[in-house]
Amino acid sequence: MGAVSQRERFAEVVSDLLDTDPAVAVVLADIGVGRFEEIGAVARHPDRVINVGIREQLMISVAGGLALGGLRAFVHSYTPFLIERPFEQIKLDLIHQGVGAVLVSIGASYDAAAEGRTHQSPGDIALLDTLPGFEIHVPGHADEVEVLLRHAATGTEPVYVRLTEAANRSAMPITPGRFHLVREGAVATVISVGPTLDAVLEATSDLDVTILYSATVRPFDRPALRNSISDDVVLVEPYLEGTSAAEVSAALLDRPHRLLSIGVPNGEYRHYGTPAEHEAAHGLDAVGIRRRILEFVGGDGRI
């Protein structure tokens, strides 16, 4: 993990945006307020850092009203309370009104593993996929968070930035909306999303595979996938397994291809413990990813 967490970087960057852009606002539902108080953003911008209390539906609706008034609202909460609980508000008070906001979650699929299912949200991106127009970013490092948030601040479209307590050792030189080519190989193309990169690199260190790193999953960088050598594709996503499978299929519509989707299986998990234990249980650690890739490509796949 880097010196600064993704969530800490989020508060720093948005605080800076508040200082420099009078059209930026923050909407919170208690969660995260303390961090914005600590760094002085609430004191400096009491009218633009809005805490609605524990009212997540109102949190999204207020962001919609702010957007109708020309403001760029950053909305932040724990993943299930930002995306799942107020989903109709996202659908109607943002998308149907024709306005956007920047939704920034923390917690990912199971950062708060010990809190149980109520705080786990592996289905968030699949849910947002039912709505048109969302840009969706899944950074794997705090430095990437900064790039993506500053990019999001310049637009008016709906954006989702999915933060996590996990982090890759190093940031990738990302361009929002594009995959980053980490290395090229012949046996398969592995798309590694956000915080899965370190495990993917460990799992494939001696395998002859292309690694595409994706910190943006919507839009899905179809040209980058088409440019890869192999039509055996492995999709490694740290949320609901197969969430981007339709995107891979659309990208390779005219080419015979095979797809292995690795992610969080769709189940009602009643386990606590640690994020690492959940990763291992779902085959999302390096051991599990390697085993499934080798089964998929056949043989040992080595260089």
Partner: protein
């Protein structure tokens, strides 16, 4: 005030008939008729020639079903051409059974699902304050719509934030299944709102209630009309 056209209040039934095809109009449509007319005729500072003026007053019709009265008033006040009313609810019409703000000039909010207009109106009120605008925000709800919990998140917050540029009109046609102990106005008062309850057909009373000063607190006007049948 809106631009004067040749249409008056007495012309609204004929405009509504363009959509409904007969002279009998549903209670859902007519319950809002007088309040919407008074808003557009006497209260709102809006101009159909400049519907995107950043300092215009905002009107959020949250109770979007039965919008014929709303559309008739928009036509009467010059936001849409009366002939557009004839296309009501057809495939390519901008006028559906629930208004869509992206399709109709002068409409601020795309309504349909209940309990969304007031929370968004709260956000709009905050935005206008941040932008230093003098504009006011009016939001119309139905009494049964108040059953939706999302409204109560907004009512509580608006009271604490003293959003005095915000006025809610609740059309009370006694259609809430379980009603409100102590009356609708009481529900707002306990959250710090200024309130009034008026005859929802009395134009002068509606105008007076909507125009009354309420510095430091949001305003709720309960407009009582005949019950559904």
């Amino acid at each position: 005030m809106t631009t004067q056209t040749e249409f008056r209040y007495d012309d609204l039934p004929s405009l509504m008939t363009r959509m409904t095809g007969d002279e009998k109009h549903s209670t859902a449509a007519t319950s809002t008729l007088d309040v919407v007319w008074v808003l557009y005729d006497r209260i709102l500072s809006i101009d159909p020639r400049d519907p995107a003026d950043p300092d215009r007053d905002r009107f959020f019709l949250s109770k979007g079903h039965g919008p014929m009265a709303y559309y008739a008033v928009l036509a009467a006040k010059g936001f849409i051409l009366p002939d557009v009313l004839n296309t009501f609810a057809t495939f390519d019409s901008p006028l559906g059974h629930h208004p869509d703000a992206t399709l109709i000039p002068g409409v601020e909010f795309a309504a349909g699902s209940l309990g969304h207009g007031l929370p968004v109106a709260v956000g709009s009120s905050l935005a206008l304050g941040i932008n230093g605008s003098p504009a006011r925000v009016f939001c119309l709800l139905g009494d049964a719509e108040l059953d939706e919990g999302s409204n109560h998140e907004a009512i509580a917050f608006a009271g604490r934030y003293a959003l005095d540029r915000l006025t809610v009109v609740v059309i009370d046609n006694n259609s809430s299944s379980h009603a409100w102990p102590g009356g609708i106005a009481r529900r707002f008062e306990v959250e710090g709102w200024s309130t009034a309850t008026v005859d929802g057909r009395d134009h002068n009373a509606i105008e007076h209630a909507l125009g009354a000063a309420h510095a430091g607190s949001p305003r709720a006007v309960v407009a009582v009309v005949q019950g559904k049948y």
